[in-house]
Every structure is written in structure tokens, then in C-alpha cells.
Symmetry: D2
Subunit: 380 residues, 4 copies
């Protein structure tokens, strides 16, 4: 199935999952069948070996079908992409044991076969600031015991494993590590997700009280979490962006369909709204694709990071603005629940509010533009 048909199928189910708030099982069946769970996995492990730019294209298309599904997929791609794209030398340099590479490959090969990974980073009251994580871990004889609670875990209850950020309970200084914790006993999903938009992400809470093996420690090294945030901000900030450009494209598509059906497409004010929306969406797509190319070609540079933040800011704001204006052009009949524009209006509002929020991006970009040295780490 090509991406275009796949997006169509997602689009056809988006309203149903939005209304029920259920996890989009059928969408993930399709994603598995299309081989997308292994998108970021290297060829040698059975995957498609995609670059960040290729991922961005996929995320945009999925997002134009069903935003919530694309956001869950984005989390999976972030886990597999970060694992696949971190160079071996770098990991060795940071002290990873050789055993790490085998366990990493197992994780990636499982994804290529259909395993779904989720991210459990945020906690209530601290958002996604890694430096303040309260979930903790301690060494046991054979591995680690992890205890705590997470929130906003997209795909909770449907993932095969969760990337969990936790702090070393024995360290005086904050030392935050990542673990890939398999679903199962000790990992309890607590229904909490009932949201304005992006309702089908199943971003429930997770309660953790679980023992994991030694090789669940990602990278095989403790304290790697903040490091990763600095090296690969794209996976924490920019990978959403493509999804929201897809959402904005869906607004245009459904707006055009509705306006033609109702015979409103010849009204000059309607036409002007659509024309401006078309330009904004085209511009946002270019910015997101540019950021993706930067990440692929020159990961981690200051210039790349600026593009990443621009992409997040512009994609989130554009989706919200375009949905606002096109809904106004479409009129009250498009506000009925079940109408695609009604759902998209709610979905589109969420981008600017997801971390890093548009206001945070603007602040950071302003500091850069003004020649100041934004202290990135402080933001995590």
C-alpha cells in the first residue's frame, strides 16, 4: 500500500477514533502491514533505513490522514530513530559496553517485525523537563528496579515497550538514564487521556514499579538522557512538526471539499481565506522539510537546531491559524461533531501547546537572533 492510500484509510477512520477516544488499532495494523514500524530500522536488521528527512515525509502524510495516529507513530519513530542514528563511535565514546550493540539490534529488529515503542518521559507538574524527573531507579542484582509515575504516554496500553526516563536514586547529583521497559506486570496503565484534540493517541498515565534486566538500560550507560536531548533535539521537538503540517494540509483538503459542496467557493472572502491558508501551509511544509534536511545533513549543529525550533513554531502556529480561518469560512454547518473540520479544529490547536511550546520556541529563537547564547540544557 502506498503512502497516499494509507493516509486515505487513516483519514476514513479518524472521526471514529476521535469520537470514541480509542487507540487506532486498525491504523496500526495498516502501518505494520506497510512495513512502517521498521521505517527507521537499518536494512541489515530488516527495516527501511530511513533518514530523518524521509521520516518527515512519512509523518506529514500520516498526519494529513489522522493526526493522532501520526503522533503515536512519531513516538515510535523517535525511539527507533534515535537508536538507529546515534553513531556507534559516539556511543562507545560515552562508555557504552559492547553488549549494548546486540541489545540495541534486538530492539530494532523487533520493531521491523512490528513491535511498537512508546515514550514515558513527562511527569505531572514538571512537564518534560528531564532535569526534574522524579521517577527513580536503583540497581538490583540482575538489573534495575524502576518506580514512579508518568503522564502523557502516547500509545499507553498498546506499546510493546516504553522508553522511560528515571533518575538514579543513589546519586546526589541528578543523573537521568533511559530504560526501555517491556509492557507487562509492574507497568500499569491508568486511563487519564480525554483531551480537546488528538484524542486517539491514548496518552494515558503509567504507573511503574518494575524490575528490568541490565540490558534495558539504553546505551548501556547511566546518565545519558540529558546528553541525548542535546545531541538530538529533533526527536524531542521537531518530529511533531511534520505531523502538524499534515494536519494543516488536511484542513485545506476538507475545507475545499466542504466549500465546494455548499457552493461557497465563489465568495470572495472565502477565496481570500483559502488563498492565504494555502500560502501558509506551503511555507510551513518548506520549513519543516528544510529542518529535516538539516538534521539529516548536519545533525546537532546550532544552525540545524535553529531550523528545528523554527519548524516547531511555524508548524504549530500554522495548523492552528489555518484551522481557525477555514472553519470560519466553512460556517456553522462544519462544527457538527463528526465533520472533519470540527475534529481538525481541535487537533490543530494542540501543536503550539506541545513542548517546546510556540512561546518557548520564539524565546529561544529570539535569543539566538539577538546573538545571545541560549542555554539549551536549562530548558530540559
Amino acid at each position: 500500500m502506498d503512502l497516499h492510500s494509507l493516509a486515505d484509510r487513516l483519514s476514513g477512520r479518524a472521526s471514529k477514533y476521535d469520537v470514541s477516544g480509542d487507540f487506532p488499532e486498525e491504523d496500526f495494523d495498516d502501518l505494520r502491514e506497510a512495513g512502517l514500524m521498521g521505517l527507521m530500522v537499518p536494512h541489515r536488521l530488516g527495516g527501511a533505513g530511513a533518514t530523518f528527512a524521509e521520516y518527515t515525509d512519512v509523518a506529514m502524510r500520516l498526519g494529513s490522514g489522522a493526526g493522532a495516529t501520526a503522533l503515536v507513530f512519531n513516538m515510535h519513530a523517535s525511539v527507533t530513530g534515535a537508536l538507529a542514528h546515534t553513531p556507534d563511535e559516539l556511543v562507545r565514546q560515552f562508555g557504552a559496553p559492547e553488549s549494548f550493540f546486540a541489545s540495541r539490534d534486538r530492539v530494532l529488529a523487533a520493531a521491523a517485525k512490528g513491535a511498537l515503542y512508546a515514550v514515558a518521559m513527562s511527569e505531572r507538574g514538571i512537564g518534560s523537563r528531564l532535569s526534574q524527573v522524579r521517577t527513580s531507579y536503583e540497581r538490583t542484582g540482575s538489573g534495575f528496579r524502576i518506580t514512579g509515575a508518568k503522564t502523557f504516554v502516547s500509545g499507553a496500553g498498546h506499546a510493546d515497550a516504553y522508553l522511560v526516563a528515571a533518575r538514579d536514586s543513589s546519586a546526589a547529583e541528578p543523573r537521568v538514564s533511559y530504560f526501555l521497559v517491556p509492557a507487562g506486570p509492574g507497568v500499569e496503565v491508568q486511563p487519564a487521556w480525554d483531551s480537546l484534540g488528538m484524542r486517539a493517541t491514548a496518552s494515558h498515565d503509567l504507573r511503574l514499579d518494575v524490575e528490568v534486566d541490565e540490558d534495558a538500560l539504553v546505551g548501556g550507560i547511566e546518565g545519558a538522557a540529558l546528553l541525548l536531548a542535546q545531541v538530538m533535539p529533533q526527536w524531542l521537538v521537531a518530529s511533531y512538526a511534520a505531523v502538524y503540517v499534515g494536519v494543516a494540509q488536511a484542513v485545506l483538503r476538507h475545507g475545499v471539499e466542504h466549500l465546494r459542496e455548499r457552493g461557497l467557493h465563489t465568495l470572495p472572502l472565502v477565496r481570500a481565506r483559502l488563498g492565504r491558508a494555502d500560502s501558509q501551509v506551503a511555507a510551513a511544509e518548506l520549513v519543516v522539510r528544510r529542518a529535516a534536511r538539516q538534521v539529516t545533513d548536519d545533525p546537532g549543529s546550532q544552525e540545524t537546531n535553529r531550523w528545528v525550533w523554527r519548524a516547531k513554531l511555524i508548524a504549530g502556529d500554522t495548523a492552528a491559524d489555518v484551522a481557525f480561518s477555514v472553519l470560519e469560512a466553512a460556517g456553522a454547518s462544519a462544527t457538527r461533531r463528526g465533520h472533519p473540520l470540527e475534529r481538525l479544529y481541535r487537533d490543530a490547536r494542540c501543536g503550539a501547546l506541545q513542548p517546546a511550546t510556540s512561546d518557548v520556541c520564539a524565546d529561544w529563537l529570539g535569543a539566538c537572533a539577538l546573538g545571545d547564547d541560549p542555554d539549551e540544557v536549562a530548558r530540559w
Copy 2:
């Protein structure tokens, strides 16, 4: 119960009714108890004898408690207000029989005792353009038989009678009359309302196949509908406006509460968002109150009508803008269903889309400002 306490009670239930989409029975029990069903009814018939300006104040306060409840009340106030405020001489001049006054007084006295009236004007595909109404009536021996279908009837299934616009099936020229049709057999509610915002208005469809007495004809004269639209645009356009200023005030109130709880109130970008929102809401309130005073002092004049359209435009746009910006200040935690800002974000979007839409108001006001003679009637 004073208006402040009443609004508080409505506010406390708004989330519940938003989630269920049920009609806010308890709110209307409170409104009845507070004597508000007779707000527009003259003192001599047991009512409060309010002016349009006094109504505006009530609508704003109710709207700041629960927008949907205030919209349903607005429809009731429009029916009773239009009946109460149309001068006797004018009605006589248009040919009303003397019997009209007794039947009008019965209708108003019933309201003062708690009867609820609703408006059944819109039809699918034509919106609220009276000139294109398809619901029709024909004379019977003792009155009229009305046949047709209506949509967006706020309070459907809970009103004691419906103000129905229908065209004379025997006339070649369109002749549209108003009837006050009692609830009962032949007036069938068809559940259809499931909307982005203002979910508790129960604005369902109505199927009509019903016979009514002679005195159900409003004014006792056929063909009065378009006339009324011209003489009293305030009840068709501006009475919403106060509700949306109330909604915008609620956004500020809940925004402040949320931001202080979360400790976000000292962030400069948050403060600037709130400061601008505060100014916008204060300005919108002044415009709506000014329009209301104009209606009270100089009903029907061109200057009054301009203020009425400005009020509709500014109230609708302000509510939507302020909800958009304050939600962004509040962040993702305020997008959980059940959070007042989540509901208000959806409710606030509806004002600009209700007729006359903001784009229509802007067009009309532009024509006036440019010295053209806007053909009001054509818009109905």
C-alpha cells in the same frame, strides 16, 4: 438569588452539561426561580419589564456562567422581548386585529409564570434567510396547518412553544408569517445536535405537521416576518453578542485561576497575553453595552443598526481570539476535557459563525462606512 450567585451556579454545572450534551434542566430551574423567564414581560403581566439594555446585562452575566444556557435564554428573551417591545400603535398600523393583544398578553403572562419559548427559524441549506423559508402553512377552518422541518432549534424538546417561520402555501409571492406553535403532538424533536461548542443548547431539528389555532399567528397578521427582521435586527443579531462577551469574561476568569494555580502568572509572555485579552474583553463589553443602549433609546435607526452589527462582529471575534490566546498561555494541561478552558475554547469559537457571521457583519459595516446603502432585507 442575585445574578452573580446565579452565574456561579451555572458555571459549576457547565462542564457536566457540555460533556453529556444534555439540556441544562437545573439551570432553567434556577432561572425560573430567579424570575428571569419573565424578564422581558411588562410589570402589569407579572414580569420584570426589562429594557434591551437590562437584558444585555443579564445575558452577559449568564453567558459568563454557562454560554449554552445563556443562548437558550436568549432565544426565549428574543420571543418575549419582541412581543413586549413592539409598540401597540405599530402593530395596529400593520393591521393587527384587536384580538391579538389578548393573545399576546396570555403568551407573555405564561412566560412570567415560567413558560419557555424557543425559535424555529433556520432550515437546512438556507440557514436563517427568511426569504427562502420552505416550511409552509395553509388556512384550515379554525386556524392553520403548518408543515415542514426546522434545524438549529435551541431548547428543542424543552420549550413550551416554538416561534415558527412559515410561508403561505397559497401565495405566489413569498409571504412569511410567524406562528407560536405549542409543544405537543405534531411537533416532533429529532436529535441532531452534537456540536463543537455550546453543546448544551439542545439545538435539535424539529419536524412539524401540526394544526394551530387562529391566535397562534403572531401579530394576528400574515407576512410580518420580514418586517420584524428589519424593525428589530437586535433580536436576531445582537442578542447573541452579550452572551459571547460573557464567554470571553469567563475565559479571563478561568485563565487567571489556572495560571495562578500553576504558578505561571509571573511569566512575562503570559502576563502580556492576559493584559491584551483584558483590554479586548473590556472593549467588547463597552461596544455591546453601547449597542444595547442604542436599541433601547433609538430602536431601528441606521446608527443603532450599525452598533448592533459592530457588537455582533466584535463580541464573536473577541471571544474566539481571547480563548485562543489564553489557552496557549495556559498550556497543554488546560486541554483536558472537563477543564473550563477546554470547553470555553470550543464555545467561544461559535459566536463568529452564528448568523450574522463576522464576515457578513464586516461586509455590511464596510458598505455603510463607504457610504453605500446596504440592502438589509436581501440578507434575510
Copy 3:
């Protein structure tokens, strides 16, 4: 001459003075003839005894004729209005000697006869923050010697006297007093004003090295400057606001004239721009008039001050927004120098940038809305 005709005369000359940057002598001849120099002066001293609300009306109308002239007049009205409106008891309470009242009356009576007063408060690098004034004074045998430099002195070279803020050179703590310094030797105008907009205000620099009599000390008391800023923020912040509403009204008027002349008034996008501009200007006028009524009825209260800041914010932003949009509707032919819209576009941009700037107002209003206690004094 009534205000309407007067505004017309100002409007007819506005382009000439904008191009040359000269002080509008003819306008002030007309203002003198119309008795407006004594607008704020009590009846017993030969003036019109206007309230702040009446002043606001005059300022708006003058501003709709010629913004720059209205700004210079605003400075004169601020000096005479503050002197006339400060209650005698309050001045006595702060320690004013009885001799003060005679000297104050002389100053006001001179205004009623045509004297023009200007304000010399700002200094380069500190703006209008009184607490950081560097211009200083020292006691001499018969009065004071004042030394320093001022900037942005509207009407410089054309005023009969200047209200100068200066700090006591002998005090350790900052003690800032006001002096009314007559034009003449020791008060040297240095041409410096050549600005984007409001070009005819002659807001040049002033170099001061001058001795003044004892009774030049305003209030007869030292250290009164900060006090006044707190008691009467309206004269420092809100009195501009009315001028910018006038400017916005002029944009509408000249926009309509231009669009009709060019036959562009029937274009739907043009009409929508004008309709939205009309609403914004109507709203801004209401806010400014409301603030003025508050000042008249309840000067100095927190509620009044909030309205004053809202008025400043909304008037400045509205003028700029409306000029931006109407110029776009008017097209390139309206950008020729000498075209009223070209001038108004530049004039209108200045309001939000004059102290307190829109961003400062938004910050202060946000703090109030969020329940914080804005420290007003710190801003001066």
C-alpha cells in the same frame, strides 16, 4: 468656530506641516482664536473649565484633523489640566505655601489669554522615567538654577514656558521637582526632531542653564514629581490616547474618500477591510471615552488607572492596525507623499511607541488581571 470646522482647517494644513516639519503656527492661531488654550482653565480665571472627559472630546477631534497639532495641544492641556484639577486641599496637605495659589492662577490666567506651555521631561537614554532624571537644580538666593538637557520637547521654540523635571543636586536620595521655566535666555532649543511620523510637533531638544524665581517651583514644594505621576497617570499616559483615536478616524475618512474616488469601494475585500476598521475605531473611541469618564468621576483609583492603560493600549494599536489595513485597501497610489493616507500611516505608527508603550501597558494590565500588585512607581 466650532470644533468640526476647526478640525477641517487643521486637516487642510496637515500635509504641508508634515512635509516641512515646521511647527503648525496657523493651527495654533486658530486654537487661540477658538479659546482652546484656556480649555482646562477654570471659569474664574477666564477659561472654559473643562473636565478630563471634555478635554478628551476636544483632543479626539483635533487629532482627527492633525495629529501633530493635537499632540502639542495635549502637552499644554496636561500642564494646565494638572494645575487646574489638583485639589487645593491636596496641595496644601503636601505642604504647599499659600503663595503657590497666586502663582498657579497667574500661570492659568496666562493660558486663557493664549500662552502655550510645553513639557520637558524625557532625557536621552532614560526616556520618561522620572526616577532617573539627570537634569538638576540648586537653590540660589532668589530661586533656583537649573542645568541639563531634555529631549522630545513637543512645541520647543514655540512655547511660552516649559514644565521641567529636575533633581535636587544637593540631595542624596533622588528628589525630583517640577519647574515652570519661561522661554528666554538660558533655554536653548536644539533642532533634533525629524521623525517618521507626527513630524509637525517640533519635539526638539532643549538645553537648560537658567535661573528661575522661587515661584517657578510647581506646587511650591520640592519632590512633587513622582507623586504627581501616581496621582494623575491620565495626563502622562491617557491624554495621548484620544489623539490616536482621532488619527484612526481620519484614516477611515480619508480611506473612504480615496476608495470612492478610485471606484474601489465595491470590491468585497476592500469592503471587509473597511468594515473591520470601522468596528475597531468605534470600539477604541468607547474605551477612550470610558477612561476619560473614569478620570473625571473617580480620579486616581485602581479601576480608573486600568481604564487609562487600556485606553492607551487600544488607541495606539488600533490607529496602527487600521492605517496598515486601509492603506493596503487603498493601494500604491495612496503612498505618494502628500496623500493623507501616506501621512496618516506614519503618524498612526507612533502611538504604540510613545510611553507607556503598548507592550508596557499589556504587561501592567496583565499583572492586574492576574491579581498581582503592579508597582506603578517603579515604572517612572
Copy 4:
């Protein structure tokens, strides 16, 4: 001299030419020396053989130095670029005589040696709509006699020849041809340019009463004007766009410099303004470069034309928005004439108003997005 240094030199003189309104002679000396007059001229004729994408890069950089200079250069590049890029086969197909190619090469070779060409298309009251051109031509024994008046001729009085659109006075149907008319007797410049912004373009009026040789007829074929507008909209619409992105970049650069000098760069609201401006400018640059690449790779296609209109819309709006916001961040001290931000604020406003205006672009793009077939020709 590299482009960076060249832009710096232009930037250094921009204020001087803005104040005087004189044609920037020194800038064109520099452009000649840098070989830019032959930028679009093929290598075989002594030029640089640039593509449209390469031109776009040059225009953006020149625009970031001095907008007015870049606009004049843009006209020259449009003439030489359209001549150089129209394929020989196409011209032959339209009936061009073989003699055309020699005369075209002479024109291009002269540009490579420093000749400057200007465009005389607009006429008072009809703008740039070719179909309504009133300037006419008639055949003489040896060529043509051209009579009429043109307006907005950038570079008037400084160009070596003017591309003039004129209609065949003998034809019943409008038949509009282009002539390249040498400066000299019969071509009279009438000073008329005194504008809000872009003051140094010398866009004066031109009065024509002149005989030209046979080979002044561009393409050697009559009636080619509308054709060219359809085949190459980029030169009529999009080549401005790059200039305004340059202007927006200059706003950022000078804004940053001013804000750091004044110590305002740490204020959160200032930082947020700069951050949003940075994103907008980056997005506009991508859109303009994308449109340029489309023109280079796939000239004349519907998809290319959409990008061309998006580029015009976004570049014009972005320049104006960014200048508006950054001036507000910079404050009143940046509104002094001679300050780069004061000039840029005026320059930046002109882009959206130049044809095709932003409103026209939005309308056309809306029609495309809504699946209608925009009748391009009708717009000329």
C-alpha cells in the same frame, strides 16, 4: 567585489538616497563594476548567464542592502532575463523574423557592457493591466511612432532604454506590443516620484512621442505582450519578492543591532518579537527560493505559477509584518529619520501594494486551491 561586500556598500548609502530621493548613481557604479548588469546575459555575449534562481539570490542580497536599488535592478533583470530566457524555438514559433536574434543579442551585449534598461508599462488609472494600455503606436516608413504617457517607471532618466508596452492604433482588437525605446529626444522624464517608501527608485512618469527603428519591436512580432505575461509571470510578479525578503532580512539585522546597543535584547517581549520575526523571514526566504527553483526547472507550469504567487504574497506580507513588529520592539528612538529601521518600516510596506497585490494573490491562490480555473489573462 563579492555580493556580501556589495550589499554592505549599498546599505551604507541607503539612508542618504532615501532622504534625498535621488537615483542611487553610486550603487549602480558598483553594480556595473561587479558585472551585475550582465547577470542575465548569456556567456557568449559577455554576461554571467544566470538562471532565475541565481538572479533571486542576487536580488535578495541587494535588497538586504538597499531595497530601492534592488527594485531598479530587478527591472533591468526582468528585461534582460526575459530576452535571454525565452527559447529561440518559441520565438520562431510565434513568427519572429531571423533579424530579431541579432537585435536581441545587441541589446543583451550592451547590458553586459553596462547599459541599464527600465520598464515603462503602468499608466495612470489602469495600473499594469496590459489589456487596457492607452499608449499607442503606428507604423512609419522605417519603423514605429509611439505616443503616450507612462507612470511608475523605475530608473526613469537614468536608463539607456525603456521597455514600453503600446497598443496598435490601427487595430480594432487590442493588440499590445513591446518596444525597447532608447533614451533621448521624444522620451521625456516628468518628475512625479515622491513616495512613502522605496524612495530612491526614481519611478517617475515618462512622456513618449518618439520614432523608433523596426528592430525596437521586441521579438520582431506585434501583439506579443500578453503572451509574455502568461509565459513568464515570474518577471512581472515574483522578481519583486526576493527584494522584499532582503528588506525583511535587513529589518532583522538592524533590529538586532539597535536592540543590543540600547540594551533591550534581554527583555522577554523583545526576544519573543525577534524570535517570531526570525521564523517568518526564514520561511519567506524558503518560499521565494522554491518559487525561483520552480521557474528555473519548470517555467510556465500551473504549479510554478502557484509558487510564484505564493512568493509574492508571503514576501510582501512578511516584510511589512516584521518591520511593524521590530519597530515596536525598538521603540521611539528608532523612528528618527535616518535610522535604518525608520526607512525600512516605510520600504517594507510597499511590497504588498505593488502589483500583484497581496489581496489579488490571495484571491488567485484561493481560486486555485478551490479547484477553479483562474483566468490569468483577465488580470492583465
